[in-house]
């Protein structure tokens, strides 16, 4: 018989009006990496919250066995004590504190309330070494990259001797190399007998790292099997419950004249005015093409887009020519007026306003244009918003729904709608499909293709190589603030792009 560290049997969890989990059974063997996949809203998070004790015993039905003992958690502390550690998508680190303080937050080396900092330092150094993070434990979290912060979270779990580690979308913000490091650490931990539940949207990663996979759909377990018995296509089909013929719907575009020309664009760091984040970049954006920008994190892709959009610092030189004429625009409002729009990579922080309704969000960037004398026509506003809700097939009970209550994919569509309403000539999309499920991704790609047909220039920044290669007509590759490659989609391969992005000549 298999040695299961965790068995969750017939778990059903109901919210008023919704069955979030419907008779879900899920188990994890000792020392395996078990992937949990499913579209947004499939019940992954709910299941993990049951496991973590966020929903206490009694608020769900079904039973959980952990290390052979029945689990009845009353809160998250219980699960922590039992040896279950969850690392959520949004990292729970105190940014102003050091690595050392963060790792031992809540479980300090202390005697009578006085902290033994030396012991903490030594212990922290040891766990950092275990997760291959070569940093001084006194470094503040704020000074670390996203990938390193992720490792600190893992170090924290390791320090607690967790026997079951749950990672929720751990690579959403990581570069390829960082992802590779993370995978290696997970394999090391597996060798030490630590089990891991790996929640991800990225099927290729699942195929690469996991031993077994469980697929959830609409709150039910659809399948559990060894990963080697499952193709990526099959996993995706099981997830969405329909055949997906094309993950990247490619439409042939014929590029037209240059719309935006960027000449010798140099941008200085917001905080360190002597450092160049963008160094002498020149390129054209042509009508009727999707221009992909690839590169590793820190290559300056976001800074490039934001500086063109007038929202990154003040130190910049170079020229922008829009339709052949010099464009002077130092603020987002000036850019919007001229027809340049930028969809941020962090939609929650920079994209939408959670407590505002769809109407307010979608019209937000077009207000000055729509209501010339400053008075909003409520009915007209609803009418215009509904047009975009229809065009983008945003699923919402009403245009007066607060955007914070929508799913990630629909929130992203709201932000897309906001920018479309400004009628942009050039639309920068920074990680447009981050953190949204496969179905919604394809919808976003289709929208992009439609926009290009309508003559909008699209610049897509993405860290997912398959996406860049699958959707773009032309691919620019950036490395350390410089443009190091300009490839047509036909000549581009993963290897070529990676080679350039990592500084190969």
């Amino acid at each position: 018989m298999d040695d299961y560290i965790l068995e969750m049997n017939h778990i059903t969890k109901e919210f008023p009006g919704v069955k979030a989990l419907n008779d879900v059974s899920f188990n994890v063997k000792r020392g395996e990496i078990h992937a949990l996949v499913g579209e947004n809203g499939a019940g992954k998070s709910t299941l993990m919250k049951v496991l973590a004790g966020v929903y206490p015993f009694g608020s769900y039905t079904g039973a959980m066995m952990f290390n052979g003992a029945e689990l009845q958690f009353t809160g998250t502390r219980d699960s922590e004590k039992a040896g279950i550690a969850i690392i959520f998508q949004e990292l729970a680190l105190v940014k102003q504190m050091s690595i050392r303080e963060n790792i031992y937050l809540g479980s300090e080396f202390q005697k009578n309330g006085i902290i033994d900092w030396d012991a903490t330092f030594i212990a922290a150094s040891k766990v950092l070494h275990e997760v291959h993070l070569n940093r001084n434990p006194l470094t503040k979290i704020i000074d670390l990259g996203v990938g390193e912060q992720q490792l600190v979270e893992i170090a924290k779990a390791v320090s607690k001797n967790a026997s079951l580690l749950i990672l929720d979308e751990p690579t959403a913000a990581l570069t390829e190399t960082e992802t590779e490091t993370l995978m290696q650490i997970l394999r090391d931990l597996r060798a030490k007998g630590v089990s891991c539940i790996y929640i991800s949207h990225k099927i290729s990663e699942v195929a690469q790292i996991a031993d077994r996979v469980t697929i959830l759909r609409d709150g039910r377990t659809i399948a559990t099997d060894d990963v080697k018995n499952m193709s990526e296509e099959r996993m995706i089909n099981l997830m969405v419950g329909r055949e997906i013929t094309q993950r990247f719907p490619r439409v042939e575009h014929t590029p037209g004249e240059t719309v935006l020309e960027v000449r010798d664009w140099t941008v200085y760091d917001r905080d360190l005015p002597t450092r160049k984040v963008i160094d002498g970049v020149s390129f054209n954006i042509r009508k009727g093409e999707i221009l992909g920008i690839a590169g590793l994190m820190g290559a300056g892709r976001t800074e490039l887009a934001m500086s063109i959009f007038g929202s990154y610092g003040v130190g910049r030189t170079g020229e922008l020519l829009l339709d052949g004429k010099k464009m002077v625009a130092n603020s987002p409002s000036a850019c919007i007026e001229k027809g340049v729009a930028y969809l941020s990579e962090d939609r929650k922080r920079y994209g939408f306003i959670a407590m505002m309704d769809l109407c307010g969000n979608i019209t937000l960037a077009s207000m000055a244009k729509l209501w010339k004398n400053g008075v909003i026509d409520g009915n007209e506003e609803i009418r215009r918003t509904e047009q975009y809700v229809g065009d983008l097939s945003i699923k919402t009970p009403s245009v007066e729904q607060k955007v914070g209550n929508l799913s990630g994919g629909n929130q992203q569509k709201v932000v897309v709608g906001k920018w479309l309403m400004t009628h942009p000539k050039v639309l920068f999309l920074d990680e447009p499909t981050r953190g949204i499920d496969v179905g919604a991704k394809i919808e976003i790609y289709n929208i992009m293709n439609q926009l290009v047909e309508q003559g909008v220039c699209i610049v897509m920044i993405s860290s997912e190589l398959p996406e860049i290669l699958g959707i773009s007509d032309r691919i620019l590759v950036m490395h350390m603030g410089r443009l190091v490659g300009d490839l047509s989609w036909k000549e581009a391969t993963q290897e070529k792009v990676m080679y350039l992005a990592t500084g190969g000549k």
Partner: protein, 403 residues
């Protein structure tokens, strides 16, 4: 999930009963404030053996709440944008003292002193707005400084004495009532009654027009029966509020000012782009900025409007007491902030309504008034007001969590 507000009627209409329940559930936040106000009123009516509910007392209560209500109209904007203004108490005292001094010591005519005072309010707003919006000093600090500076200014202007402006015209701002037009009977003001009827007519016309507009655009609307019930009950409420004043001395000019402020700032916050910008900045400043909203200008303008409102309140306040003193407006900022919060303004910004803040101002004034009637000491008044504020925020926090 179903956080649908009152405007929303796009879902299919099922059984009328279910609809009502749904509608009530959805609007419960707005109604808790009104229910709380009615509860406070009932308690005081019982405790004061009916004195509280007399038209005379309620009329006075409205008048007492006027200054807080005027400032609350713009404080809502300040707080929705995620700021706070601690200087309003001092500023009301200061502008009130200036107008009193101009009339009394400088012998300026009221019609000159009042506009100059409004200008002073504008300058106060420009000054504080500049530091908050363009220098980036947190509003908490800027207005704390403003509070001290203007408290000093107030003491300087009054010299520690009480100044009583001896102008009949000036007294009207805080003490005057609408004159009687045709019917000269004590205890019935026909002019005010006409205004009340006009208000009811205007409300019903605008409700019907907005309904017709929605139908024209093909948006679903509530059933005719429900619409009628809402309109009838709202008309009754308006009639009741006006009759309190109609059957006393009439509508005070100060209350007319409050009504005008409420109408203007409700319109600004709900129907104007500027208002939308304020909510956007409070909801997510970065997203607002990247959507092309001029955050600095908007913040600046909020404080300018606040400065103006403070000057208006200063004039009404001094006029009502017919005196400017060194202690004028002390602690008023807390009443105003409490009024906004009781009225549903989020302490984190992004949410709030002018109408709610007015209800909040009435709650605060009712507590003062009721406890004074009961001859409870200042000690209890402070304690009770503190507890009410605490409970209001606790209720707010817990209902928000459920959503």
């Amino acid at each position: 999930m179903e956080n649908v507000n009152s405007k929303t009627v796009m879902q299919p209409q099922n059984s009328p009963g279910g609809n009502w329940r749904n509608w009530m559930r959805v609007n419960v936040r707005q109604y808790t404030m009104i229910i709380a106000l009615l509860l406070v009123w009932s308690i005081f009516t019982v405790l004061t053996k009916g004195i509280f509910i007399s038209t005379r007392n309620l009329s006075n209560l409205f008048l007492q709440s006027a200054t807080v209500a005027i400032v609350a109209c713009t404080m809502v904007l300040v707080m929705v944008a995620g700021h706070i203004d601690l200087s309003v108490g001092s500023a009301v005292g200061f502008t009130g003292a200036v107008v009193a001094t101009l009339i009394t010591k400088a012998s300026w005519p009221t019609l000159l002193a009042v506009p100059v005072t409004l200008l002073l309010g504008l300058v106060i707003g420009l000054f504080q707005g500049y530091w908050v919006a363009y220098v980036g000093v947190p509003a908490f600090i800027v207005t704390l400084a403003g509070m001290l500076i203007m408290r000093g200014g107030l003491l300087g202007v009054t010299g520690g004495n009480t100044i009583s402006p001896n102008s009949e015209l000036f007294r009207q701002f805080g003490q005057g009532y609408l004159p009687q037009l045709f019917v000269k009977v004590v205890g019935f003001n026909d002019f005010s009654a006409l205004i009340g009827i006009l208000a009811i007519v205007l409300y019903n016309v605008s409700a019907l027009r907005s309904r017709r507009g929605r139908i024209k655009h093909g948006f679903a609307v509530s059933s005719p029966r429900k619409q009628m019930l809402i309109q009838v009950s709202m008309s009754v409420v308006i009639a009741l509020v006006f009759s309190i004043m109609v059957f006393y001395h009439g509508i005070p000019y100060a209350i007319l000012i409050v009504m005008a402020m409420v109408l203007i700032f409700s319109f600004v916050s709900q129907n104007m782009t500027f208002g939308r910008y304020v909510y956007a900045i409070g909801g997510n400043k970065d997203a607002a900025r990247l959507s092309g909203i001029n955050v600095k200008k908007t913040n600046f303008l909020i404080f300018v409007l606040q400065g103006l409102a403070v000057a208006i309140a200063g004039i009404v306040y001094t006029s009502r007491l017919n005196a400017a003193t060194g202690g004028a407006g002390t602690g008023m900022e807390l009443d105003v902030i409490a009024a906004c919060i009781i009225g549903g303004t989020s302490t984190m910004g992004g949410e709030g309504s002018v109408f709610g803040a007015i209800i909040g101002a009435l709650v605060m004034a009712s507590l003062d008034n009721g406890m004074s009637l009961m001859n409870l000491g200042v000690v209890y008044q402070y304690v009770v007001k503190g507890v009410v504020l605490l409970i209001a925020v606790a209720v707010d926090v817990s209902t928000r969590k459920k959503q």
